[in-house]
């Protein structure tokens, strides 16, 4: 492995693409115009064969790598995976990160002005699905002059988008990397999402979704994020990182923070409630719940994936209990039954679902080796 560490910060600048052709959503609602904010890394080659699309997960966005400024505290959310000399090597690939429709980091979403009223959409922003995101991402590709992706890549909800790409635009991608994902949510997955949504929807400051200019449902969003974090980590890593450790060494017999795990969760909840939009959180969890390409198909997932032509790399993590390896194997088995090319790696990792965001030599080695073999 050759690493080309930049000697100074790699500064990226978000771009905005404006679309004026109406987008008919899966719900039947229509967006007459919308913007998508995106970032690119590396250069599109002359043959336009080296583009890689990165699809983000629930709380992610377009800022996948590098820094926005010399002052920014942390790089993009997948900076350990994407960059010069990294597993998804931007010296070879032209990488695109995009904030999905309905997001809260620049793309048109609930906090954007509703052209009909001039006020933020709030609850009037239509629900969007994984299919809608893929459609919008395809328009962005056209906007960027990309007619075909070397690969579409995503983890968790991002992996579902990559999978949907292979079904919806089978001719547009050569490779599909589906990481820590599932072909659909289980009842338990939906149940966790519903508790998170109810926390937001029943927050008195939610105000029916029209809370911009007010305090907003920060209490509810904080609870949703705390709950989410429990499902992102394995029981084991919670045990080894926090265990039953007490902040002050002894029981306080009150309701202030006592255990280190409480401190961690509340910090994560507080931070998220200040930086994320609750309406977007609601939309994202609904898109998760709705995703089920095999819905109503007698032939199940194999039938749903029949159109797919891409080559696949499917990756799961042993201690992920949100989307366990078994869920990835369902995807692998459906693809194999369709005689597609599939590589599958089940990574032994202690961290649970969040492992897909972490540095792990074996995991990164698998992605690097796969990406290196892609012919441009």
């Amino acid at each position: 492995m050759t690493h080309h560490e930049p000697t100074h910060r790699w500064i990226v600048t978000p771009q905005t693409a404006r679309f004026t052709e109406p987008l008919v959503l899966q719900s039947g609602a229509v967006l007459n115009g919308y913007e998508l904010v995106y970032e690119t890394y590396g250069r599109l080659n002359a043959d336009r064969t080296n583009a890689v699309l990165i699809c983000h997960a629930l709380s992610g966005n377009h800022h996948v790598a590098g820094y926005h400024s010399e002052q920014e505290k942390r790089p993009g959310w997948w900076d350990n995976m994407i960059g010069p000399g990294k597993p998804i090597d931007t010296e070879r690939f032209f990488v695109i990160g995009v904030n999905n429709l309905g997001g809260c980091h620049g793309s048109t979403g609930p906090s954007s002005p509703n052209p009909d009223t001039g006020k933020p959409y709030g609850a009037d922003f239509p629900l969007v699905t994984v299919e809608d995101w893929v459609t919008a991402q395809a328009r962005l590709a056209e906007h960027l002059g990309v007619e075909r992706f070397a690969a579409v890549v995503g983890g968790s909800l991002g992996g579902m988008q990559a999978l949907q790409w292979s079904i919806q635009y089978p001719d547009w991608l050569d490779h599909c990397l589906v990481i820590a994902a599932a072909p659909k949510l289980t009842a338990q997955n939906i149940a966790f999402n519903d508790v998170a949504r109810q926390a937001i929807l029943t927050d008195p400051d939610f105000n029916g979704g029209h809370y911009y200019g007010g305090p907003g449902p920060k209490r509810g969003l904080r609870l949703a994020r705390m709950l989410g974090h429990i499902t992102y980590l394995s029981d084991d890593v919670m045990g080894s990182k926090f265990g039953r450790a007490l902040r002050s060494g002894s029981y306080q017999f009150g309701f202030d923070v006592e255990f280190e795990i409480e401190s961690y969760l509340r910090y994560q909840g507080d931070k998220f409630a200040e930086s994320f939009d609750a309406n977007t959180y609601l939309l994202m969890t609904k898109a998760l719940d709705y995703f089920d390409p095999a819905q109503d198909l007698e032939g199940g997932l194999a039938e749903a994936l029949r159109p797919a032509q891409a080559n696949f790399l499917v990756i799961s993590f042993t201690t992920d209990w949100r989307f366990s390896p078994q869920r990835s194997r369902e995807i692998v088995e459906a693809l194999l039954s369709n005689k597609r090319n599939v590589s599958y790696a089940e990574i032994t990792h202690g961290h649970g679902h969040d492992a897909f965001l972490m540095v792990d030599p074996y995991y990164h080695g698998v992605v690097r080796a796969y990406m290196e073999k892609i012919k441009l």
Copy 2:
């Protein structure tokens, strides 16, 4: 097996015991007087050797079997286990159910009048621990003329109380039945409890715990219960009972209830929020978090259980992910290393943690066989 089905309803009447000797709690706080509400089933024999104490779990109470009236819709919470001819046979045993201190079903708790102010304790009710409950239960035993229990029995948090009995009053019990329990909570267990507590504590109607006479933190308590229910059921049973079934057959693209699992959880949450006291919920979850008899002991759980003299029946359920079989095995191994008599049954059951409340022929058969062998 002989079943003696009563030809008409078995009516039980709760009793109240008043204690005036001050109770010094583990926190150092003192309750100068308190009441415990309890029920008894069957008759104490002349030698007073047939008493069985049932310890309740998080949302349980003293009403373990039978009906309070001809009109009552549902019997006590463990009516399938306890009664004439049932696994814990009230024709042979004198069974006691008690609502724990801090409860909200008649025993002194946060909604009881604080003698210092004449108003409900609210947040001024002291935190109570499993040790405190056992102390209070021992006083109730004395009050009832019971000097020794044939068995102390409990599931989940109730199992922790049974275990604590064996440590705290080793001479007072011949047998200890610890069902679907754990020797202490993991970080993940505490994390779920903390999210539940934060839902209540941050509800604007919580009012610092002094909410009696007002609406009270029903939103928060509802969320806490919804979350709890996810952990009481296995992923499998949620899948087989609810799966991805939709109430109306198709996506509605809104935030009203759509999936059957959502309907179930919200119903459970609503029902609980109307009938349970949030301050009690807070106390009970703290008692769970604090329970750790091996805390600060170099010899761990084996050292903690060294005083125990009882014979043990430990039972776990294969799909219980709240307190998995591994947690029960920790108890078994500690007892075996102390050369105690232990029977252990790992019941194959699909329902998860809540299985301990359900009818299962093998599970009930194990309890029945164990209870039948107890010499009086």
